[in-house]
Subunit: 226 residues, 2 copies
Amino acid sequence: MKKARILIVDDEEDLCEILKFNLEGEGFEVDEAYSAEDAITKRLDKYDLLLLDVMMGKMSGFKLAEKIRKERGSTIPIIFLTAKDTKNDTLTGFSIGADDYISKPFSIKEVVARVNAVLNRTTGKYAGEQIINVEGMEFDLNKKKLIIDNKSIYLTRKEFEILQLLIENQGRIFSREEVLNYVCKYETVVTTRTVDVNIARIRKKMGKYGKFVRSRTGYGYYFDIQ
Amino acid sequence: MKKARILIVDDEEDLCEILKFNLEGEGFEVDEAYSAEDAITKRLDKYDLLLLDVMMGKMSGFKLAEKIRKERGSTIPIIFLTAKDTKNDTLTGFSIGADDYISKPFSIKEVVARVNAVLNRTTGKYAGEQIINVEGMEFDLNKKKLIIDNKSIYLTRKEFEILQLLIENQGRIFSREEVLNYVCKYETVVTTRTVDVNIARIRKKMGKYGKFVRSRTGYGYYFDIQ
DNA sequence: AACGTTTGTAACAATTTTGTAGCAAACCTG
DNA sequence: CAGGTTTGCTACAAAATTGTTACAAACGTT
């Protein structure tokens, strides 16, 4: 699964570092900007989520957010970080919404939890990309297709399942029986030779990458890039 | 569509900013006033809805509301925000003619939902905008319709939900089971083939854009503009 | 209850996928 | 290298999936 990319915008560099370290530990890709002006120079469409400090030097997090939403028309989810206002701690009550709102001081655990929640909500439980990359070839589990040289290669269900089995167990050899058992679990019995035909079809569709789908006479098929 | 204009009156400036940001994100036009006195100086008839904090410096939200209703004879819908959730306050609010009543701490989502609800109830014609644009085709989440070549295409609820699922997860393939599960979560069991019929109806209504709703035999349906 | 609308089902046609058979090519073993 | 075995490939047929239509049931409104 593709990692979500997060941009932290906060003038407290120490805080940025702590957040970055912890979010990276959770498997996210994290960039930092130490001011709103700095953030604007970045290609924001690269990111899946923004963590914005509300109180920063010249331009506040709100202004930045407004700019991003209005001028760039971006719908990127935003979580605001704000210093806890002792006068009204009602702000701590903000939790759910189109965006989110976390008051300082906050626990790292809390931030991670909210980040995950927002990403799940905004990208939908379906949207997490699931792409296996092999030698410049993309194997997209959600879109059920290969991307080779920027071209989409559509595999049928059986083809896709066989290739998935082989790619997810790179190097391991599967006998025709094993492949059939994996692909046609509860279906009527078919000749083991059908595997050959499907392999041939897969190889053909894969073009120059077809050679990575290999056979060992007497054993079966496997996927390997060597 | 005319945007609804909202005035937020609250002395917590941060809270105002958050509400403003999120309501604007929903397509509303939003102004702020940080005190009742400040609000009075504004031309209130410009607005379609007031969000009033009950607890503010000198003049409370209730007083302000009374003033507006009695002295100006305005019937503008009002939603009160309050820190306390006591029955007394609630009753006071409704006797003045509050349209809704939200206790802090509250979620942004909740506020937005209530704002939409009140506006729909009172004017019927306003709502925050939520429009997805794809290839010159507008997909209006609030009005549950498509706009194609400046013409409104009205989708039924099921049709709309299916299309929304597909469009919001562009490229990803959904099996009939997944689509059904998403659209008919709590309903009686139906044939997976009903999805086909709904897809057909959606395609028909979408005219030249219908082709973007695609199928992959063995997998299901997906939306893609390629 | 009567009406229009939405949604589901069944049946058939059209399309795509999948399996089989047969032959050619490659592989293995002695 | 000769023979049997395994694998690659192609065309065709069978099976499965999808598109489409007409009709019926369910729903909501007046």
